[in-house]
């Protein structure tokens, strides 16, 4: 058991160091949601009227509404970034170091995932602190309650990234991932507009948004930030994590994975 924890610690530390050293990545991870918060939300607050919907107990400004969605966005991008670095590691060969370790492959991939989640938590809390500095504050208890929610949503979105990395062979194909995974997931969710707003334009759109796992992650975070547990999203997020991680493990299984159909690894 000790050996397992040693590997987890080493992989997490390495991922964190990598992240801190890549200042550009750190900055862009922060600037992206802040641009949405400051520029996009400022423009939209006039155009969008929001009624009182749970967990909010009073009228809120649009900036307040999109904060949980932006937390989710940070984790979504972080999951894809980890996925990208995994594909890079595969192409450069350093992934083999991980895959030829005698520790179970599932555990090592989970370590990679956990390391990515740790990095995303760091990003989210720095973002929340800056948002608070701009006056967009959550209840104090909400920051604590959001922690387990963020861990779960991070795990689910990270597992999605892992799944993507097990199917994408080349670095170049990642533009497709942006177009077909990140953007639809983000825009077809409750990150930017509540479901009832979506329903105003189309019921179909609302249904798609409702089943989008990213919506569930955002809602889990949203309720948690106000100290409330959203049971249904919690269930979905856990299910999503199990499904994505299970499929990713299958993708990385040397006997069953897609690798089998490729050339020499």
């Amino acid at each position: 058991m000790k050996g397992y924890l040693v590997a987890l610690q080493a992989i997490t530390l390495r991922e964190a160091q990598r992240f801190v050293h890549q200042r550009g990545r750190f900055l862009s991870a922060l600037v992206r949601p802040l641009v949405w918060l400051v520029v996009f939300a400022a423009g939209f607050r006039a155009a969008l009227g929001l009624s009182i919907i749970p967990p909010y107990q009073t009228y809120i400004t649009y900036e307040v509404y999109i904060v949980p969605g932006l937390c989710g966005m940070i984790q979504l991008f972080n999951g894809m970034q980890s996925s990208l670095s995994l594909v890079y590691d595969q192409e450069m060969g350093s992934m083999r170091l991980l895959l030829t370790s005698p520790l179970p492959r599932g555990w090592l991939l989970f370590c990679k995932l956990a390391a990515g989640v740790a990095v995303s938590l760091l990003q989210v809390y720095v973002f929340l602190a800056i948002a608070a500095a701009f006056g967009i504050e959550m209840p104090l208890w909400g920051y604590v309650a959001a922690f387990p929610a963020l861990v779960l949503s991070g795990l689910m979105l990270g597992a999605l990234g892992l799944l993507v990395s097990s199917t994408v062979k080349q670095f170049e194909n990642f533009a497709g991932v942006m177009n077909f995974v990140i953007f639809p997931m983000f825009f077809l969710s409750t990150a930017l507009y509540p479901l009832w707003k979506m329903a105003e334009s189309s019921d179909l759109l609302r249904d798609i948004c409702a089943v989008n796992p990213f919506t569930q992650a955002v809602e889990l975070i949203r309720f948690a930030l106000y100290g409330q547990l959203a049971l249904w999203p919690l269930l979905w997020v856990i299910l999503g994590f199990v499904a994505f991680f299970g499929l990713a493990l299958l993708g990385y299984d040397p006997a069953k994975g897609l690798r089998m159909r490729r050339g020499p690894p």
Partner: protein, 246 residues
């Protein structure tokens, strides 16, 4: 005693056969060269030996552990150096090695002792604090070999470990690895360069996915040179490379 056993192993990428009924054994403490031209199936065989790929056709055992039924025991007995470098250039030599040790679940005081011992074996101790990026190609390879020894494996697998190195570095690496074999480690060395093999070494000649010969380099060469013997076996279809010149 057999350190590495490959029995009737076949592998195909879809309709393309990469390995066809490959069988051979490597005795404990032997230096065995896997000699074959490019495209012979060496990398596929290495992927199977390290469980990056698996096959249902045939059996592979490392130090007595079947890689299909007890992969973790088998992998813990293997030290592997891939053709492509797997180093983190921005970490120091020592950090690269301790990260590797952690991936093998080794921790505590044992790590430093083992790292020092492994670096000593490759004459790399004084480089422990340097960043890998500042090392030349030969030293990077030596560091990778030292790293592969940290978990004290019984079998060392090297896939074209001298590719891209100059003659002096190539000689140094080949010498170091032969020393390791003399000290009791089993070495399985894939190459297409005949001059890296000594007469007493075992040789498995792989060509187009099939084993063409299994004997010592000396007896394979016979009266002539190993190059001639190798060419006779493979030249009709693919010219061999000698001395790093393809």
């Amino acid at each position: 005693m057999t350190a590495l056993s490959v029995q009737n192993v076949s592998y195909a990428y879809g309709p393309k056969t990469a390995l066809d009924d490959v069988s051979f054994e490597v005795g404990a403490g032997r230096f065995c060269a896997l000699l074959g031209p490019n495209g012979a199936g060496k990398s596929t065989l290495f992927a199977l030996l390290t469980r990056l790929l698996v096959t249902r056709r045939g059996r592979i055992a490392v130090a007595g552990h079947d890689i299909a039924t007890s992969p973790r025991s088998a992998l813990s007995k293997i030290g592997v150096i891939f053709q492509q470098s797997t180093l983190d250039l921005d970490m120091s030599v020592a950090r690269n090695m301790s990260y590797f040790a952690a991936l093998h679940g080794i921790s505590g005081r044992a790590v430093q002792t083992r790292i020092d011992a492994a670096l000593d074996r490759l004459d790399m101790r004084e480089r422990a604090g340097e960043k890998v990026r500042s090392l030349n190609g030969g030293h990077r390879r030596r560091m990778e070999i030292a790293r592969a020894l940290v978990h004290e494996p019984e079998v060392l697998l090297l896939d074209e470990a001298t590719v891209g190195l100059d003659t002096a570095a190539r000689l140094a690496i080949t010498g170091h690895v032969h020393d390791l074999a003399e000290a009791g480690l089993t070495v399985f060395w894939a190459t297409h360069l005949v001059d890296e093999i000594r007469p007493a070494d075992d040789v498995v000649v792989l060509h187009r996915g099939r084993v063409r010969a299994r004997e010592t380099a000396g007896s394979l060469a016979g009266e002539g040179s190993l190059t001639d013997a190798f060419m006779a076996m493979t030249a009709a279809e693919a010219p061999p490379s000698v001395g790093g010149v393809p």
